[in-house]
Subunit: 323 residues, 6 copies
């Protein structure tokens, strides 16, 4: 996390002013704050909240769901007990972490659920600010993705990243088959040979050409047809599979990327299109944040709340003490 | 920006592999890359892209729109010319910066446009990861907000932050009038006295009580009624205004926050509700990113492109040379 | 009923002219008239039809469904046999009684069905002309309401009316607690103490204040929040319940009124909002009348009918002879 | 009006209890009550309100719109000033009169507006309770109908009623032509000869037969085809007109009734169907009441109001003093 | 079929040019062509394709579904193997036969399915070009109609045609009863006496008059009420049945025609209207053609295909060799 | 037309029976029949009706609109006067000709209107039975197409057909460039060189290859991309144009076919896609027939009609005497 988060420069300024006014008034009760989402989804970000409070030497109690648990709308995902001065200025950061991370993890879970048992890889780093792209990838893995495309995101999740070559590489080499051969020669054996086949020519034709060039070394081809050419359709996958099979390349797998959503995966499945892996980007990165709210519900042991909320902490059974 | 952005650990791994393979093949042409959005909107993030490329000692040319310009779908917002090895691994980061920042700035512009001439303040830090919350605030200001709630975001835009007190503060003090008086005594004179009046009691009643307590020192009250109590409605604003006026407090302004969207602002305007300031959060933070694409369109001076795209750079007249 | 109904001044004038022409022609056959609704619903008004024909000294036969039975579209609810001169001029009144009364009873049955087992009281007198408001209340009770707000309506149904205090009373006293105390002192013990709590202040705060003032004598509070303040929502009911319980007033019941419809009751039920009584007005008073048609289907024992209708009486088994 | 309205037996019982409690508390301030509709429409019922308050010897002031004026949503249609004890128990009746009457007048105005300049007659007595059917007819005339079918309704409006013969008459006589001839012989000359032609046979054939029988004495025919036979359609009217004209009966007018609504009138107009009069029933009687609210806004000269409403009387320029 | 079909003057001209170019290039491989529909439906037209290829002395193989089988979208309905020169120019005709015929048969199957077990007769010759009207009738019978109205269509299906008298005949005779009697006298005994009863007068009245005139010789009446009079409705059928039964003519059947669709049949069935036969026209003649595609999938034994299609013949088990 | 049309074997059998019954009754009045469409559109088929009546030696009068005129719903397009025996049995054929032909011409006019000024060619022969495919092409030309794909259809309209090569030809030759060269060598100079480029490979690549092979002799390329590959999109057309232009082939035109509809043409136009010709098939062949009705409106000079229709001929000014 950025150092400015810990120094509270990213807090809403009213929390800083509140801190100053309470100090002036000599008020610092022990409070209980309940933190809950505005809609149901996968709860993600707990780990970073713990990290932040630990770095800030918070000495109260923290009870929380486990990373990746489902949280219902209004159900406490986190309950914090302690002197208000010990954590009040971090309310903005805590809510923000949970909002972004839970939004990404929930969207990933949707697309993973639609695709199962076909694996899904998080490919969205290019659609989100690089300050959070690795965190987004980590959250996508919490939501069920098998891995992601950024090295830092994979490291956060203790995995190896996935990905082979961009269109830029194929364009610079100037021919798909030559690009595949160069890649094969340059990479060490741990890198799977998966070749992007839609840069210059018809995908079905190129797939067979690449397979003839790399033979058994070719693990798969990736279809990423641009929307200007109709995108990747179920019938394209079926045809590529049929032409590879007819040419004797049954072992070559087919990866699909480009605008993949749960709805489109369902159409692939209904058409029995033989996809071996989905790369998903914008469905995850365009996820709406799941807004969280932090409410003081107890002051010095007394149930309180603002209008519109039920006084008192929830203390339900799924919360575990972490700090 | 995080140091890992410059070290390319947040790049899609296939760009790192592409770099290695091209080095192995001895290929490093001078290329032109055109970067364009997938839908129209406010273009934002240029400043950070320049910062990143400068830090990376990029020695080619960079042509770009100006921060805050409108970019049409498919229209080049950025054109980069140089050795591919000098910037290729930053494609992920560049696109990600533009996607997130342009999404936020565009949503801010929508809500500012709906509210004009009533000023809008960015209040969304709590709905987005703290690693990007200040950047989000900066983008909201590029999109037209008059300022924002985070000190760091305001600093990025060369402004002072805005905000007074949270519900937590009022709850801890235990009474709205006492909270207002404490705040008034504790703060120096540069901080405007704007008091949150919906914590314990009916907003119209509390507004008059607070005004009677602070008199001329009170600059405004803020309505943030929770959705459980129907949210802030045009008729609530009209009634608060009428009751303040009947009690002789015509100088007290009314700020409105909580789920404010362009559609809701239009309903306030149609009802002629006398709002003096809007605080907007989730409409901006829930903005869809505007996905950008980076296409190689020229190699060693020759127009090229992948299937589905028009070969050649755009070089249109609104682009200016920055590097 | 108005005396002008019996004198046939409220008949369509063509029935008066028809009477004169038939007398001129010397025609007065024994006819059978079948009366049936245009859509299914609760049949109500039979009692008043009997009253009208009895007052008019009708000497033929009347077969009818029982008050409150369901009648299908096109199914005879009433069959009248007799000299045409003995009842022809009352066709307008008979159809009008059945249309209005069945519309009200059917709408009441809808809302009672949605609310069960929570009781529903008819509160709609203010939305309908006073010449029929007590009849509307009687029909609502036929449709399942436990009682109503008008003394005359309750008398028609052999019950006591329900209701405590209007906003006007609370406004004139000037404070909700004083209004409650005054009411408690002034009323004899048969009147339940149910206090309206939304006149001046937040409902949850006032409920607790009123409960503290009246203690065990308080039977319930009524929520009638105006739509300008969001109306009564499920979460408001839940919060009031929670705050009353926290303060030790578990015996105080919650009544809800203001725009209550079957759809809104379903939302209350889905949210498990602990409502103890609903007051329903405009859903019943805005009910569409169920139009009835009266067709001559037999003349001197011979089946006849106009074009578009099946000749002959229905004489089905659910009809019972009343006259 | 019923005597029970004046004795307040049709009041909501809480007004009676409020009266008793205020008397017990010795409170009887001079109040101002503003009465306004919940949606825009023709304001009707003022005359009956004046009648009721006059009978009740109300000695305060009454300011009101004129019968038939348009009232906007929330705009005061009536403002009453006086001792609360002098009119408080009539709030239910006043609101009920305005709700029903304004609903009927507004619906009538819609259908009259659609039909203009073709005259519309109110034919709905059979769809509404006879205690209010004449009042409904009076309101329909306030809304623009040229007259109505009930003698009492016509009397209220100072007009003569309209209508000729029912299906029952034609069925009893047994033949449309004989029925027409009998009617012609029996009626005095002031009754227009308009014959219902759809009872036994095809309307176009019967129209010509009736015209041949009555010749110049026939003023018009009425089409009331049941929905089982497709109802009256524009092409039926055109064909009847054409066949009458071909047979030389250009002077015979065509009246249309049965489920006539503004939408259906528009289709008749678009098809240029030559209708000379519309009889309208259920569109007016099925009108939603326009709910009115009565709010105390002034107590002993001081502006007040309950939550959600603006304190103070409206006293706008369209109100005139009546009492 | 027209002689110009066999001489290929109705082929798309590019097939003629293709034939000339291939002859110039000396190319005439043995090809396999797979012919399949774009949407599922009843496959019809096989018999005519065989006829055409036989007349053209085609000497290859033809495998096909059976006339009237269901074909799924994309499933081969026909596979042709032979020298391309032997059938290439007939591609247009083969596809056109299957498209029109399958469209008609499929629509007929829909309406027959909705009406079962009530028989349906094809009455649509008047809505389609006479060059194909008999073929349309034949296809309707393949789709399940019991017969049709044209002699040539019935001959193609080996049946006798159905139909009695047009409106023109009744108009010329000038009275429905006289028309019925004339028809009865003129026709030999094999022609069923079914009389059209809606020409001049109300259908229910005329039905009884005709039944009284023809007695036991009358087999049925036909209702074909024009849409200007509301068309034939379920309640009209019920009323005609009731009036015939009341008059003692239970043996007289009721045929219904005019705009009959599956949706309208469902309404008749739901209303339990006692229809004995439906005549259906425009639902069948307005059927969308089911477009067929002919793809070369094999050349000299080698699987081939154009882009977007799977190479190789389908040879599935439902195809039988015909030539 | 088929000989069986003239021999009336394609007539509805009831016309044949009507002919026999009238002969038996000795009735053969001079009648006037008015023929009109059920919805507005281009009137087409008049020429064939004249041909049929001439062949049948009809000796009465025929008044008609001109081929291609617009006819409104219910407006007479044809009026026939003569002995009923002279044309009665042709009613089925006359209505059928007008229904099919007017449906096709109207659909063609829609698509031509959307495409103007870009020319449209009728390509639908493969979607309609070959007995009427040439007539469909003729009607499409009446509706505005510049020509069609069948030689017989073009002959009917006095034009030359249009079309170059099918996918079958390219598949048999085995390579698009060789197919183009073979075609160029084989055809005489009057045949335009328009090459289908989507059979094997990416359309943009093949277009340039074909242009390089044929140079100035190449007039155009045709895009007919199958729906499995996304169909032809506006961006595909733009890219092909750009790549042809970049390679120096500005003179090569672009024809588009495959599922072209008015809606899709509008999208091409909005995207400014440079299409030079559209080939349209199924939009025209899937046109709903425009059902025509033939009504006897005059018998021996006397206005008559069946129920639901206005008696008498229309004789309006746009009708001209043809026979």
């Amino acid at each position: 996390m950025l150092p400015q988060v810990r120094s509270a420069e990213t807090a809403d300024v009213y929390f800083l002013r509140s801190r100053d006014a309470l100090r002036y008034l000599g008020l610092d009760p022990k409070v209980g704050m309940s933190v809950f989402p505005g809609r149901a989804g996968v709860c993600c970000g707990i780990r970073q909240v713990v990290e932040l409070l630990s770095e800030a030497r918070f000495d109260g109690e923290l009870w929380a769901l486990q990373e990746g648990d489902t949280a219902e709308s209004g159900e406490a995902a986190l309950e914090i007990y302690g002197k208000y001065s010990a954590f009040g200025v971090y309310e903005t950061a805590i809510l923000g972490i949970l909002a972004s991370c839970s939004g990404w993890a929930t969207a990933a879970a949707e697309v993973v659920g639609a695709g199962a048992p076909v694996p899904v890889v998080s490919f969205g780093a290019r659609h989100v600010h690089p300050n959070v792209s690795a965190i987004m990838d980590y959250c996508a893995i919490v939501g069920g993705c098998v891995t992601c495309s950024t090295p830092l995101g994979a490291t956060l999740a203790g995995l190896a990243p996935s990905g082979t070559m961009p269109h830029a590489y194929v364009l610079i080499v100037g021919d798909t088959v030559q690009a595949a051969e160069g890649f094969d020669q340059a990479m060490d054996d741990t890198v799977p040979r998966v070749v992007l086949v839609d840069t210059f020519q018809d995908e079905a034709v190129e797939s067979v050409r690449v397979a003839q060039a790399l033979g058994d070394r070719l693990q798969g081809i990736r279809l990423d047809t641009p929307s200007e050419r109709g995108g990747v359709t179920p019938s394209l996958v079926c045809e590529v599979r049929a032409r590879l099979d007819l040419a004797g390349f049954r072992h070559v797998q087919i990866a699909v990327s480009g605008g993949v959503t749960p709805e489109r995966i369902i159409r692939f499945r209904e058409a029995q299109a033989p996809v071996d892996m989905y790369g998903v980007g914008s469905h995850i990165t365009a996820a709406l944040p799941i807004d969280y709210t932090g409410d003081i519900r107890e002051i010095d042991g007394r149930p309180v709340s603002k209008r519109g909320r039920i006084p008192g902490m929830q203390r339900h059974g799924r919360l575990q003490q972490i700090l």
